[in-house]
């Protein structure tokens, strides 16, 4: 029996510990591992460092739930609606407790993880020169090109303790197919010391091997495989379900106050135990509405010889 296949509860219990650094939300608005985030909250993890480009509301949610000590990100909020109120409360007022923030841009966070994936301590760039991002930033330093002498910004490598990555399908070893925008997922997977894969479905190894060019994550990087249909809701998973825009809008409205957020958290996270209950709460009608309706299959590629 394959030992990598775990329930979400088991995977978070075994691989996510207090104080760890976690990279998540690496495909930007798509494939955000919300289900894993909810379980982290339910298991009461503390002092986490969250790493990622924009995370939509995932980071805001974890911050509000008190799991987070530090955020290393380019953007924290609600992409469609604007502010993340928990992020604001934490940074502006120390509620539920103060957090540290290391500001990045999407490119610098991509480069920091790319550096780690490549096994070098830093990478040079021209972005963010002239901005205030590098000011007092421990992971950014101005340097000169050894060939041209031009000014460059060195961005230090970031090696997260764990990556949590949502995919469309993988085999029991965690060899994973992803399609649609991949953002910084490949580098995040290679940069991290361990990896929890959350998959819409576990498929036969033959399906994965039929198209090795679609494999973004090879199984040897993967510590745990969690089969969790709808694990990314309310974010979209191409070919499985669409983005639940209303859910983000409601979150925005309902989390403006601390009390509102607590209510939201109890309803959607703390008051339920599994993704199954979450989907029941979401309701069959909504699920049917979000489900992919049209088929638009990729043209085949022949790997035969």
């Amino acid at each position: 029996m394959n030992r990598k296949i775990l329930s979400m509860q088991e995977a978070i219990a075994q691989f996510v510990r207090d104080g760890m650094s976690i990279v998540a939300g690496t495909a930007l608005e798509s494939l955000i591992p919300f289900s894993a985030g909810h379980e982290i909250i339910r298991q009461g993890r503390r002092d986490l460092t969250l790493i990622g480009p924009i995370s939509d509301i995932l980071f805001d949610l974890l911050i509000g739930a008190g799991c987070v000590r530090k955020v290393v990100a380019a953007w924290v909020g609600n992409v469609m609606m604007g502010s993340g109120y928990n992020f604001r409360r934490a940074v502006e007022e120390g509620i539920p407790h103060p957090i540290d923030v290391e500001d990045h841009s999407n490119f610098t966070i991509a480069l920091a993880l790319h550096a780690a994936a490549l096994g070098v301590p830093y990478l040079p760039t021209k972005t963010a020169l002239g901005s205030d991002l590098p000011v007092n930033h421990p992971g950014m330093k101005e340097i000169c090109c050894p060939f041209t002498g031009e000014k460059l910004l060195a961005v230090q490598a970031i090696h997260p303790d764990i990556a949590i990555i949502q995919v469309q399908r993988c085999d029991p070893e965690g060899n994973a197919h992803i399609w649609g925008n991949t953002g910084i997922t490949g580098d995040a997977a290679r940069a991290s010391r361990s990896l929890i894969l959350v998959t819409e479905e576990i498929v036969s190894p033959d399906v994965i091997r039929s198209d090795p060019n679609r494999t973004l994550i090879p199984g040897f990087l993967v510590s745990a495989v969690v089969e969790e249909p709808w694990g990314a809701h309310p974010s979209p998973v191409q070919g499985y379900y669409n983005r639940d825009h209303g859910f983000y809008r409601d979150y925005h409205e309902e989390t403006k106050t601390l009390e509102g957020f607590q209510k939201w958290l109890n309803r959607w996270v703390k008051g339920i135990k599994t993704r199954h209950s979450y989907l029941q709460l979401l309701g069959e009608d909504r699920i049917q509405e979000l489900k992919v309706k049209k088929e638009a299959l990729s043209a085949p590629a022949n790997f035969g010889y």
Partner: protein
């Protein structure tokens, strides 16, 4: 306080602006302010250009430009998508499924950012919460730099850069869309998230930026451009019905006005038809 949201928002959560300015009556048609801004933004895209498309109104502006005067424009989306056709449905985020179906390439953020750093991107769109007279943008911290010790109630934390800093640093031309209010148009921004022309003139060269800088700022009241030498922002056109005095009063420095000041052309019937068909619920454009 919703200062960071501003105009790039929609029906479901009305803008923090006087309702009156949302509904114009001009001679031949009705249009909303966001519709005017989308049309103005679309016109900044030239045919055949590669555009780094930011979130919110730029998503519509890119689609509109493609359908009107710039059919050969190409869109880069920071999540890794390249399109040469607009998505078939209105987008709420660039990661929405319709933005992936029919793309010419779906890949990585790094590849697209790398091409922008090479100079491939002709223009990029971003929004801003604060801007200053040299076009520097702040979407990070209002009323002060990040404090060394928390908690500090003396500032507002905005979402941050996302890809904005990168687009501002690396696109050949930066296009900005934002609400025109005195508290947002400041002599000097509190924090530079996205570099404009710094302190003016050849500042970008000095700090190591290879090219670029803001080309246009499309606001709720007019379109502003930059002096080619001093790099100071000036008013190039005022929107129909907005007196110049009102714009000056809503700007936190002594804003210069173009000697050939024009009125922003209103959206055409064709533009409006497209916008309304594309965003039928009016999430982005009905205010």
């Amino acid at each position: 306080m919703d200062i960071e949201r501003g105009i790039e928002n929609g029906k479901l959560k009305p803008l923090n602006l006087p309702v009156a300015i949302f509904h114009f009556q001009v001679q031949y048609m009705n249009y909303t302010l966001p519709e005017l801004m989308v049309a103005a933004a679309a016109r900044e895209i030239r045919d055949g250009e590669i555009i780094f498309v930011g979130t919110r109104l730029p998503l519509l502006a890119f689609a509109l430009a493609k359908k009107t005067h710039a059919p050969r424009a190409i869109g880069f989306f920071e999540s890794g998508i390249i399109r040469d056709t607009p998505a078939q449905e209105v987008l709420y985020t660039m990661g929405d499924s319709p933005n992936i179906l029919g793309a010419i390439q779906c890949g990585s953020t790094l590849d697209l950012m790398g091409m922008m750093q090479q100079g491939w991107v002709d223009a990029g769109f971003i929004g801003g919460a604060e801007i200053d007279k040299y076009g520097n943008l702040n979407t990070s911290y209002i009323s002060g730099k990040p404090p060394p010790n928390h908690p500090n109630p003396g500032f507002i934390r905005l979402p941050g850069s996302g890809g904005a800093c990168d687009i501002a640093a690396l696109a050949r031309r930066l296009l900005v869309i934002m609400p025109h209010e005195k508290r947002r148009f400041k002599d000097r921004v509190d924090y530079i998230t996205s570099p404009g022309y710094g302190t003016g003139r050849n500042w970008r060269e000095t700090v190591g930026l290879p090219w670029g800088g803001p080309g246009a700022v499309i606001t709720t009241q007019g379109i502003l451009r930059f002096d080619p030498v001093t790099k100071e922002m000036y008013l190039a056109s005022n929107h129909p019905g907005i007196p110049v005095e009102e714009i000056l009063a809503n700007t936190g420095w002594d804003l210069k006005v173009a000697s050939d000041l024009k009125e922003t052309p209103p959206p055409t019937r064709e533009e409006l038809n497209f916008i309304r068909a594309y965003d039928p619920a009016g999430f982005w454009t009905r205010g």
